[in-house]
């Protein structure tokens, strides 16, 4: 579906993304994780040309992405930014309708098919009840749902997510995680068989571990590790990558752990046994 080879990006003379290569298969959920400043969001913005001046090769369905017009590119990949910023003056419905932009000509009116796709996007994103409200009146979690609905209205087979759980409280994080899982599980648009392809960048390790089928770790602009979520438990790996100690919590019936920075723990109050840095702490939360 997507092939990236030797992608490099410099901004103001500083290298942000350095020679990154990877593939995303059709129907796959790939998460790119890494600390703040690792170049994750910049990598995503190279793919959809929000950053236009990158070097390297990006191919979509074996075609060089550079040859595609911006509209053609947007018909292949939709994008959910970190936040809705300071958008004001549009109702949720009007905002979600903007997702139909790459499919419309200058004077072309909205068709019944557009209306159906917008309705479906609102339903999939569980944002139907919000459609009459103004975007600026929404909470962080509601805004995230609306951003996802707008990307779904774009009707593209590849969905790019930029820090989808950043700025959200725990309940909203859980809702968004569930939502993205169900979107990934839903059939891809455009009549192509199979699931929707998702590429997410995040510093939320637990989101990546629970949602993605494969991970790439980015550090200082370079891809330094790739593998399945269960393989990230290797002692010392997370600590090296994120330069902090972690506690790991096993989940019965799954090889994917939950991780918490060890610094979060209050050793006086908790009953947890502090383990040496990098060691797994076998503990099942009650």
């Amino acid at each position: 579906m997507l092939e990236v080879e030797g992608l490099c990006l410099s901004i103001g003379g500083r290298e942000i993304v350095k020679d990154v290569s990877f593939r995303v298969e059709r129907g796959e959920f790939l998460a790119v994780v890494g600390p703040n400043g690792a170049g994750k969001s910049s990598l995503l913005k190279c793919l959809n040309r929000v950053h236009p001046r990158w070097k390297g090769e990006v191919r979509l369905n074996s075609l060089p992405a550079r040859r595609l017009s911006q509209k053609a590119l947007a018909r292949q990949m939709s994008y959910v930014p970190q936040s809705a910023g300071d958008i004001a003056g549009f109702t949720v419905r009007q905002f979600v309708e903007q997702g139909r932009y790459p499919w419309k000509g200058a004077f072309e009116a909205e068709s019944a098919e557009d209306a159906r796709i917008v309705e479906e996007a609102l339903r999939l994103a569980k944002a139907e009840d919000l459609s009459g409200r103004f975007v600026e009146s929404l909470s962080g979690g509601e805004r995230q749902k609306v951003l996802i609905a707008t990307a779904l209205a774009q009707d593209a087979p590849l969905l790019l997510l930029d820090e989808p759980t950043a700025y959200l409280d725990y309940r909203s994080q859980a809702e968004v995680l569930e939502l993205i899982r169900s979107i990934h599980g839903a059939e891809a648009p455009g009549g192509s068989a199979g699931r929707r392809t998702v590429l997410a960048v995040t510093h939320d390790l637990n989101f990546a571990l629970q949602a993605a089928g494969r991970l790439i770790v980015l550090s200082e602009g370079r891809a330094v590790w790739t593998g399945k979520p269960g393989e990230l438990v290797e002692p010392g790996l997370l600590e090296r990558l994120f330069r902090t100690d972690f506690l790991r919590f096993e989940d019965a019936g799954s090889d994917v752990p939950f991780v918490v920075p060890a610094e979060f723990r209050n050793t006086k109050a908790s009953g947890l046994r502090p383990g040496p840095a990098g060691d797994a702490v076998p503990c099942t939360p009650k």
């Binding site: 040309r49 001046r53 947007a74 910023g85 958008i87 549009f90 903007q98 932009y101 200058a106």
Partner: protein, 312 residues
């Protein structure tokens, strides 16, 4: 409201006209001549100018995501003023393709300023929007200083003519100017409706616009050049009429919302009606004396500007 303003305004003025006066066709009576040769052309020119400035203001506010943007802010007005000042200083008094020397010179000044600005912004394509805005302010000051130099070097008479021009005014005889401005209004309307979706996306920020499939740099350049061309011609015919481009889109937004296909239609009708009403007030309230229409629009515009800044 817009149609009513255009229909009623020509009957109002220093001398009130009746339908019988106007229908005394043949141009023999004074009333008919006032109506057909002075007032109707003036009302039509005001309507086209107001509608064009309203549309251009709407586009500029979306283009720069700045609620205080207005079409004359980026040096267009001061470039045009320089053109007009140069024409007065040189004593040119010829007509070129139906354009007076003053109109042609102010158009050249305005559009030269726009092209220079676009070249300056093109030097920093990574931050074109911000460069355009800040370079525009710098150009504004630069051309204003040139105008002051010419005023300082000119005669009292020249200075007064330039002052009178910068206050804006819609004094015309015959339909010539209105017919020449009509295609400019059509261009502004076509650009507004064709780009309505792009303008909606621009309001949501450049990142969102590109991700939805918009060719951001090209769209910005096309919109900026098209709007500046329309504004330059409007200013050439009517002088730099202040605040219309700022006020009209904001007032319309309060009524019809932010969706640009609705906002463009509202800006046309309200912009046209607003300038017709201001012009009617300018030639009626202190009759037989006439105030330049720019004074009336500024008089209404400044309190509105404050309200915009201070509202919650």
């Amino acid at each position: 409201m817009s149609a009513a303003a255009v229909v009623i305004a020509p009957f109002v003025g220093a001398r009130a006209l009746s339908l019988a006066d106007v229908l005394a066709w043949g141009g023999k009576t004074g009333g008919a001549r006032i109506f057909w040769e002075l007032r109707l052309p003036r009302v039509l020119l005001a309507w086209f100018c107001g509608a064009t400035l309203g549309l251009c203001g709407m586009i500029f506010q979306a283009l720069f995501r700045n609620p205080l943007a207005e079409p004359t802010m980026l040096g267009v007005a001061s470039g045009a003023s320089f053109g007009a000042a140069f024409c007065i200083y040189m004593g040119w008094n010829v007509s070129l393709f139906g354009f007076s020397a003053m109109a042609a010179s102010s158009f050249v000044g305005a559009f030269a300023c726009v092209l220079a600005l676009q070249c300056a912004a093109g030097l920093r394509p990574d931050r074109e929007g911000a460069t355009l805005l800040l370079a525009g302010v710098a150009f504004n000051f630069f051309f204003s200083s040139l105008v002051m130099i010419l005023q300082y070097m000119g005669t009292y008479n020249d200075s007064f003519r330039l002052l009178r021009w910068t206050l804006g005014g819609i004094q015309v005889i015959g339909l010539g100017e209105a017919l020449r401005l009509a295609p400019v209004f059509v261009l502004a309307a076509a650009v507004s409706f064709a780009s309505a979706r792009e303008l909606d996306l621009l309001l949501c920020g450049p990142e969102m616009a590109v991700a939805r499939g918009m060719e951001l740099v090209r769209a910005r350049r096309v919109l900026f050049l098209a709007v500046s061309f329309c504004v330059a011609l409007s200013v050439a015919f009517c002088g730099p009429v202040a605040f219309v481009g700022l006020m009209v889109p904001h007032l319309c937004r309060l009524v019809v919302g932010s969706l640009h296909r609705n906002l463009a239609a509202a800006s046309i009708f309200f912009g046209g009606a607003f300038l017709v009403l201001c012009d009617t007030a300018s030639r009626t309230l202190w009759s037989p004396m006439e105030l330049p229409v720019g004074i009336i629009t500024s008089f209404l515009g400044a309190p509105f500007f404050l309200w915009l800044l201070l509202r919650k």
